[in-house]
């Protein structure tokens, strides 16, 4: 019996549970995607001394919904002379693969305290022993979405964009895979949960994360930088967004796509941003481990979620009261009160035992989500700061800088691991 055959012979409860989890994760991720566009526009606007979206809803909060509706109601144009099958396959492939990679990402250490027909409810959809390799194989196939879209459009600009992207993604996939070998060497496993739990050390807090620790290896900060740069290139984001360089290629590979087919590429791009951010957090920055040591002295940091939620909720409440529309006057204060209330309940965990358990339970997901959020912010930050690279510069960085550096990182880390494990 291997992992797959055990998986195939599970009973009905397992399948229902898995499908519910998938539906829930899809719902959350697609909503987060929508608000990520809002977040990106707001942050870039702030960096450029603009206001950003502010017309639809308070602070432009309903802008993503408006955009989504617009995508649905736009005319769906199919240009003449396209290869129909491949043209329709490409956005489907891009979106499916981007969403599939989320299945192996673990969001928290402990299963929920209750069971579903005798099945433990873990905070991940699946946790294979080769989790990292699954992610890389999904990324490896992800190139086809972009490349085939460029080819099938039967148009010059998309073809150039598709060519660029396949060359770029193949080049950067090498350094991306190489840069995580150090982490795998230190954890001795491809399993993401295993990699995270190896970074847990009671006394040292954030110093036991792979990026900084000497424990069982060598600090992976160089590997992290290589991974971050290649992952940004792999997701076709600024400053490596040459496949869709608007000043040269109109919109690159998705020039000929309209309506919801364009939205599928868009969602795929933002989903892979989330995947990469979670990978950065999991592989190099301790995953769900708190940056503070797990000693009684640092116990108070467990109330950090409520410390954030209460002021934020109160701010939303009072900000909502200023609005004249019904949505602002009623929904925002109610939302603010709810957020502040949750924060207060968590804080009440100091005195009430069940609430204390809840507060302890959300520590893991809280830290992982905070780290993911930070790396998402980093993406937007890079977009607001850096100009696009030239194509030859892009290839030089990939092959002449990132690849040698990440190989050197592997050799040094392997040396340290060998040295430590020697008797």
């Amino acid at each position: 019996m291997n992992a797959v055959t055990t998986f195939l012979t599970q009973d009905g409860g397992f399948w229902v549970l898995t499908f519910v989890k998938i539906a829930l994760l899809l719902f959350i991720v697609l909503t987060v995607n929508a608000y990520l566009t809002w977040f990106e526009r707001k942050v870039v606007a702030l960096m450029q001394s603009r206001i950003g979206p502010h017309r639809v809803g308070p602070h432009g909060l309903l802008q993503p919904a408006a955009d989504g509706l617009k995508f649905l109601f736009k005319e769906d144009v199919m240009p003449g002379g396209v290869d129909k099958f491949v043209y329709l396959l490409a956005p489907f492939l891009a979106l499916t693969l981007a969403l599939a990679s989320l299945a192996v990402i673990p969001f928290g250490p402990d299963p929920l305290p209750f069971k579903f027909f005798g099945h433990q409810i873990d905070l991940w959809i699946t946790n294979p022993d080769i989790g990292l390799l699954v992610l890389f194989s999904v990324t490896a196939l992800g190139v086809y979405g972009v490349a085939l879209a460029g080819w099938a459009s039967n148009s010059k600009y998309p073809l150039l964009g598709g060519l660029r992207s396949s060359a770029q993604m193949v080049s950067y996939e090498l350094s991306m895979t190489m840069s995580v070998v150090g982490v795998v060497l230190m954890a001795n496993s491809f399993s993401l949960t295993e990699i995270i739990s190896k970074q847990q050390d009671g006394k040292w807090g954030l110093l036991s994360w792979n990026a900084f620790t000497f424990h069982g290896g060598f600090p992976q900060i160089v590997g992290f930088l290589c991974f971050l740069v290649s992952a940004i290139a792999e997701t076709n984001r600024v400053p490596f967004d040459l496949p869709e360089a608007e000043s040269e290629l109109v919109a690159g590979f998705h020039t000929e796509y309209s309506s919801f087919k364009f939205a599928m590429f868009f969602i795929a791009e933002y989903t892979s941003m989330i995947t990469v951010s979670s990978l950065c957090a999991i592989l190099f920055f301790g995953g769900w481990n708190s940056p503070f040591p797990a000693t009684p002295f640092w116990q108070f940091t467990h109330y950090l979620p409520s410390l954030i939620l209460i002021p934020f909720g109160l701010w939303v409440l009072f900000d909502g009261l200023k609005y004249e529309t019904i949505f602002g006057k009623l929904v925002l204060p109610a939302l603010g009160a709810a957020i502040a209330g949750i924060g207060a309940l968590l804080l009440a965990g100091i005195w009430i035992a069940p609430l204390h358990d809840v507060n302890e339970y959300i520590q893991g997901p809280f830290w992982l989500l905070s780290k993911i959020f930070f790396f998402l912010f980093f993406y937007v930050w890079a977009r607001g700061t850096l100009p696009r690279f030239r194509y030859d510069q892009l290839m030089n960085i990939g092959w002449k800088l990132l690849l040698p550096v990440s190989i050197a990182n592997v050799i040094v880390t392997a040396g340290f691991v060998l040295f430590r494990s020697a008797p």
Binding site: V4, T5, D83, L133, S137
Partner: protein
């Protein structure tokens, strides 16, 4: 029929359909896509046998890197649909009988063994990454190093050829 068997037949059917489509499609890109289907369904079959690492590497190396290069070259050359030429005489008189002979040989071997093809290694040898690496770096270390040396030579050869064209 057990669910494992159902999945096996689904993947095997997908694999065969992909391989047939690879030959029958007229456009190179469609053929390349069919080949990707073959690669991915093969990876699924490896997974069923418990060889997780091999399955992942199959997708990363063959499904990803190598087939992307295929697609890239086809796109770069902007190859269009191929034209059908008449059936070659060599294929008719040499190829067809040979293909039939091979099929017959395989079929008779399978019937002779009662439908069960014996395992070449212990089935758990490919299960974990640790056992694979131990096999790779102890029993098969010379073939492994020789293969990597061969690939290195091929890379250098490609570089030399590309360089000569430039000057």
């Amino acid at each position: 029929m057990s669910p494992v068997l159902i999945v096996f037949f689904l993947l095997a059917a997908l694999c065969v359909i992909g391989a047939l489509s690879l030959i029958l499609q007229k456009h190179p890109i469609h053929s390349a896509l069919s080949l990707i289907i073959v690669m991915v369904s093969l990876a699924g079959l490896y997974l069923l046998m418990g060889a997780e690492f091999v399955a992942a590497v199959q997708i990363i190396v063959y499904g990803g890197a190598i087939m992307v290069l295929f697609v890239f070259v086809i796109m770069l050359l902007n190859a269009s649909a191929e034209e059908h030429t008449s059936f070659s005489k060599l294929a008719k008189f040499g190829g067809l009988p040979l293909a039939l002979a091979l099929t017959g040989l395989l079929a008779s071997a399978m019937i002779h063994n009662g439908g069960a093809v014996p395992n070449t290694t212990s089935p758990d040898a490919l299960a974990s990454t640790t056992t694979i690496s131990i096999l790779l770096f102890s029993t098969f270390v010379y073939p492994f190093e020789l293969t990597s040396f061969l690939i290195l030579v091929a890379i250098m050869g490609a570089l030399v050829l590309a360089q000569r064209e430039k000057s």
